[in-house]
Symmetry: D2
C-alpha cells in the first residue's frame, strides 16, 4: 500500500526500538508514502543497535536524544532541519516508561522520585519537544504533531499504575499546546489512543498477555495491530486531516465504546 | 490532491443537494480518489436538479430514495450493487432536517409529531440504511459507514433545538450498529462531528451567521470547511483507518476541546 | 436515616411499580425526608395494585397518567398542584420500556413502529413532562428534575438494543431542557446513570443475571442498589446540589471509569 | 441550613486560607452538619493567621503540614486520629498553585523545574495523602475523599497554563486510587470540577475577572459560589452518596455542557 500521501514532507520519529515498535512501522510507512524522516531515540536505546538497521533500510539518519533534555531536543531539531534543508512537517512521540512498574512497586506504595522520572520521560518530554520546536520555529505551516496514548488516561486499569497519569498528562499537553501551535502555524496536535500492542515495551506490564486477550475479545474488530496504527498515523500526518486538532483519537477496534461484549461473558 | 486512496472501491453518497453541500464535495473527492459512486437524495431534493449536474460530471447515476422508507433503501442498495457489479465499500449519511426549527416552534413548545418526523429523517434513517444493508449483506469486508454529526449531541446550543437529540440518536446508532457490523463483516461505523458549515441546510438555523463567527473564533484553526471535511471523509473511507470504529470524530479546528478562547473575550 | 432534607418540599414520582422499583424506594425516602409527594404511573401499571399500598403507607395519592399523553401530564401536574396547594419542587422520571426487546426482535431486525413507541415511552415522555410543566409554570424556583438513565447511552451493550438510543435521547433532553429551566426558574435537570438493578423491569432484559454479576465484579464498590440510588436521588432533590445541572451522574460503584478489573479476568 | 448529615463523622480539611476559600466554607458547613474536623494547611499559609480564627470558631485544631511531604502527612493523619480517638471519615484536598503562572512564564516558555513543583503541590500531594492514609489504614469504611478540580482538565483555557495538566493529573489520581480505596475499605474518591470562584487563589490568574464574567454568562444557573460548593461537598461526604466513586463531578451551573449561550453572543 503506497499512495504518495507524504510526498515532499519531512518528519521526526521517536521510539523505534525494534521491529515490534509502533514507531518502527510508522517510519517504514512514512518512507513508503514519500516522506523523508529522521529517527531518534534515547542513547541507551540506540546502543541496542536495531534502529541502525532501520535507518539504513530507509536511507536516513539516527540522531540520539534524551527526550527529557531540552539541549538534546534542540540539537535534534536543529540537525534535522539541516538534513532536511527546511522545517519539519510531522513528529511522532512514542515514548513511555514507568519506573515504579518496572521495579514492581505497587500503586499504593509509589516511590515519588520514580514517579517524577516516569512523568518526565513519558509525558513532559512531549511538552519539551513542542516547546523547543516552538522556540526554534521548527515546524512548517499545517504540520502535524502526534503522540501515542492509551485509554488508561480515561479509565482505570489497575496494573497500568502510574502510566495512567502519564497518559492523562500527555493528552492534556496535546490539548494545551494544540491551541498555541494552531495559532502560531496552523499546526495540529493530537494523540492516538491505541489498543494494547505486542511491543517490547507493552510486554513489560504485569499480566499483559491475559489483558491483551481480554481487550481483543472486548473489541468488536479485535485489537488494532502496530501495522494498522502506522496506517492511521500516516492519515494524521497527511493533508487529509488538517482540521483535526487537540483530539485524543481511539484506534482500538471499538474497545473504548464497548460497555460489555457478549464474547467476554462466554 | 489525488492519491488513488479509493481505487477499486464503491460507495453511496447521500445528501448532495448543491455545491455547498458537504456530500457534494465528498462525492467529488471520492471520484478523484478513484472510487465509483452512486448518488442519492430524497425525491423532493432531486427535483431541484443540481445533483444531475454532479452525476454527469462524475459519470455516475442518481437513484432517488426517501431515506425513511425501507423499501426505497432496499431498492437503492440493490440497484447500486447491480451498477457496481458487486458489494459496497463505503456509505455517507449526510441527512438532517428539523421540522420544529423550520416552522419556528420553540424548544419549549415542541410539536411532537414533527419531532418524530425530525428523528425519522435525521437519525432513524441511518439505522434503516444500516439494517437494510445488513439484511442484504450489501457491504464488502472492511467497509466504512459514516454519518455527519454535530457537537450539539454533547453540549447545548439552544437554537439548535431538537437537532441536538437527532444527533445524539445518530451517534448512538453508530455505536450500537458498529458492534454488529464489526462482527458480521469487519465494517466500521463512525460519525464525524463537523464545524458549523455554510451549507444551504446550515444557513436555515436561527442566528447562524453570528454563531458561525463565534465558532470560528473559538476554534484555534478556525471552522473546518466543507472541502476539508470531504478530505477527512476520504481518510475514513480509505484502508488507513480500518480499526477506527464506533467513534464520534471531531473535525472542528479544535472547537470541541476549547474551554474559552481569548479571541472570544476580546 | 432521616435528616429532614426535603422538609416543606413537594414532588411527583413516576414509575413505582412494586417494591423492587427504584422509584418505590425514592418515594419512601422522600417521605422520610419530609417531602409531600404524589405518585403516578401508567394506567396499566396501576391495575397491578401495589402502588396503592405504597400510597397508603405514605399517606398520599396516586394519579394515573400515560406519560406519552400531554393531556394526562397536564392533568397530573394540575391536580398535583391542587393537592400540594402550590407548585412542585422535584420530579423523578423513572420510565423505560423497549417493545423490540420485549418482543425479542434483534437490533439488526428492528421494527420501526415499535422503536418509535419505545422512544416515546422511554425518552420523549421526559420532554413532554418538562414542556407541560414549563407551560403551566408548575415548578418552584430552585427545583430539581431527575431521570434515571443507563451507561448504554455512552457505550454499547448489545443486548440492551434500542434502549441505548432511548437513554441517549433522555440524557440529551436533560441537557437541552436544562438550559431553558435554568433560565426560567433556576430549576436544574439531571440524569442519574445507575448500575444494573434487580428491578422487575431490569430482569426482562436477555442475559440479565450474568450481566449483573459481571457489572458487580467490574465495579470496585459493587453494583449500586435501588436503596442507595434512592439516597442519591434525595441528595439531588435537596438544596445541597442547587448548582448541579445538565449533568449525567454515574451512580454505579465505579463501573463507568473502570477499563478492566482484575476481578473479571480471574 | 443544618441537617445533621455528618453527625458522628470526622474529617480533615486542607486549604482554608481565608474567608474566600472554598475549604473555609466546607469546614464551617461540616461543623454545622455535626462533624468533628481538623484543619490543615502549609506552614507558610498558617503564618497568615486567619485559619486560627476559623479553628477557634469551630473549636478545633490546626495541624500544619506541607502536603508534598510524606512525613508531614503521616504526622497529620496520626495526630488527627489521636484527636478524633478513631479513624477518619472524609478528607478534602483543596490545594493548587502554579509557579509558572505566578512568575508569569508563558505556556510556551515553561520552566520545567517549576512545572514539577506545580505538579507536586497541586496534584501529587493528593496521591501522597491517599497513599499515606492507605498505609496507615487511616480511613473508616465507607469514607469519602474529595479533591477540587477545574474543567481545564478537559478543555483548554490558555491562561490557565500548566494548571490544566495539574488538574488532569489530580483527576486521574482520583480514578486510579479510587479503585484501591474501594477494594480496601469501600472508601470513595471523587473530584468536584467547580466554577471559577472568587477566591484569593483564583484571583491570581491573568484576566480572571473577564473570564469569571464570561463563565457566569455561559452557565445557565450562573457560576457556582464557594458557599454552594461547600453544600455540594457535604452531600458527597454524607452517606447519601456512598456508591459514587472515581467520578469527576461538575458543579458549575451547567457551564460544562453548554456549547454556546445566546447570552454570550449578545
Amino acid at each position: 500500500m503506497s499512495f504518495g500521501l507524504l510526498k515532499g514532507k519531512t518528519g521526526i520519529i521517536f521510539g523505534a526500538l525494534d521491529e515490534n515498535s509502533i514507531a518502527w512501522h510508522v517510519a517504514e510507512r512514512a518512507h513508503e508514502e514519500g516522506a523523508r524522516i529522521v529517527l531518534t531515540n534515547a542513547p541507551v536505546a540506540l546502543r541496542m543497535g536495531a534502529i541502525q538497521t532501520l535507518a539504513e533500510k530507509l536511507q536516513t539518519e539516527v540522531i540520539g536524544a534524551d527526550a527529557t533534555s531540552e539541549e538534546d531536543l534542540e540539537n535534534l531539531l536543529t540537525r534535522s532541519m539541516e538534513i532536511f534543508g527546511g522545517k519539519i512537517d510531522f513528529m511522532l512521540h512514542s515514548i513511555g516508561m514507568s519506573l515504579n512498574v518496572r521495579k514492581k512497586r505497587e500503586y499504593t506504595d509509589i516511590k515519588y522520585d520514580w514517579m517524577s522520572k516516569t512523568f518526565d520521560i513519558s509525558a513532559i518530554s512531549f511538552h519539551k519537544l513542542m516547546q523547543t520546536a516552538y522556540k526554534l520555529d521548527a515546524m512548517n505551516d499545517w504540520g502535524s504533531i502526534l503522540a501515542l496514548s492509551y485509554i488508561a488516561a480515561q479509565r482505570t486499569f489497575p496494573d497500568y499504575s502510574e502510566m495512567a497519569e502519564s497518559k492523562a498528562l500527555l493528552e492534556s499537553f496535546a490539548r494545551s499546546f494544540g491551541y498555541h501551535w494552531a495559532k502560531k502555524k496552523n499546526v495540529r496536535v493530537n494523540t492516538i489512543s491505541q489498543s494494547p500492542t505486542l511491543t517490547t515495551a507493552g510486554s513489560g506490564v504485569k499480566g499483559f498477555d491475559e489483558f491483551f486477550a481480554y481487550a481483543d475479545k472486548m473489541s468488536p474488530l479485535g485489537n488494532a495491530s502496530a501495522e494498522s496504527c502506522a496506517d492511521y498515523c500516516i492519515s494524521l500526518f497527511s493533508d487529509l486531516t488538517r482540521m483535526v486538532t487537540m483530539q485524543n483519537l481511539f484506534h482500538d477496534g471499538g474497545f473504548s465504546n464497548m460497555g460489555m461484549a457478549p464474547e467476554v461473558l462466554e
